[in-house]
Amino acid sequence: MNFLFRYANPHHFMRLSGAVLPFTAIATLLCLGAGLYLGFSAPPDYQQGRTVLLMFIHVPAATMAMSVYGAITLCSLLSLVWRHPLSDTAARAAAPLGALFTVLGLITGSLWGKPMWGTYWVWDARLTSFLLLLFVYIGYMALWSAIEDEIRAARAAAILALVGAVNIPIIKFSVEWWSTLHQGESIVSGKMAPVFLAPLLLMMAGYAFLFGTLWMIRIRTAILERRARNLMQAGAR
């Protein structure tokens, strides 16, 4: 906890993130490069043929969609309970990234569903709860821009984020709780052949590093914008 607060100071965050950014950017390129190389070199799956290639972009996008929401929930909790000063900025900066990962999860999933299930879309528990996640993201971002007073907007958005977090375990366990067309988990349970698992894990790491890199840059941008706003206000006085 102390660690989190030490880097809550915008000045410290700028210094630390500036030092870390080149490494996360390089890690993103390395992981995505290696993941794509191994992915496109993997043999066709015995059941799915080459549509297994869709897994390498669908699973990372969907996983990030939920992980980013988890990060927003954590930031909102830090903001509401401990008044952590940078967490509102961090939560707000993450939301558009999470929403885009959700959109990618939906599109790539739909393009995978057609050849494998015979349909682009079904209203099963996994797909429906995942679509709901997109609406939660949109509502969260809309709430931020709807309230002018930044402190009130942050408070309201944080509460909405915590309420919306209920959906995350529902998405995760929907494939176990209900009978869904969507398949269950196959990474942790070790059901996947290494020739597919290696590119998948690399792509997941690449997406995670990409998110981390963009998230840091977006927080840094927000800090500079706030400084500029403060200067403008000081000048106007």
Partner: protein
């Protein structure tokens, strides 16, 4: 035996696989570009404001 370096032949599934990759590249590349441009814009604006302040209040 199972390794076929960079095989881009998607057969009948090409119509599903390529659009999915295309959209992913477009969206992730787009947000990366957007993020970098916003950062540069914010940096330039702050620099301009700080320079203006310095000339007003030496």
């Amino acid at each position: 035996m199972n390794f076929d370096p960079l095989n881009f032949d998607m057969g009948i599934y090409a119509v599903y696989i390529w659009p999915a990759y295309g959209v992913s590249v477009l969206v992730l590349g787009g947000i990366t570009l957007w993020t970098l441009l916003a950062w540069r814009r914010a940096k330039a604006r702050l620099a301009a404001l700080e320079a203006g302040r310095e000339t007003r209040q030496p």
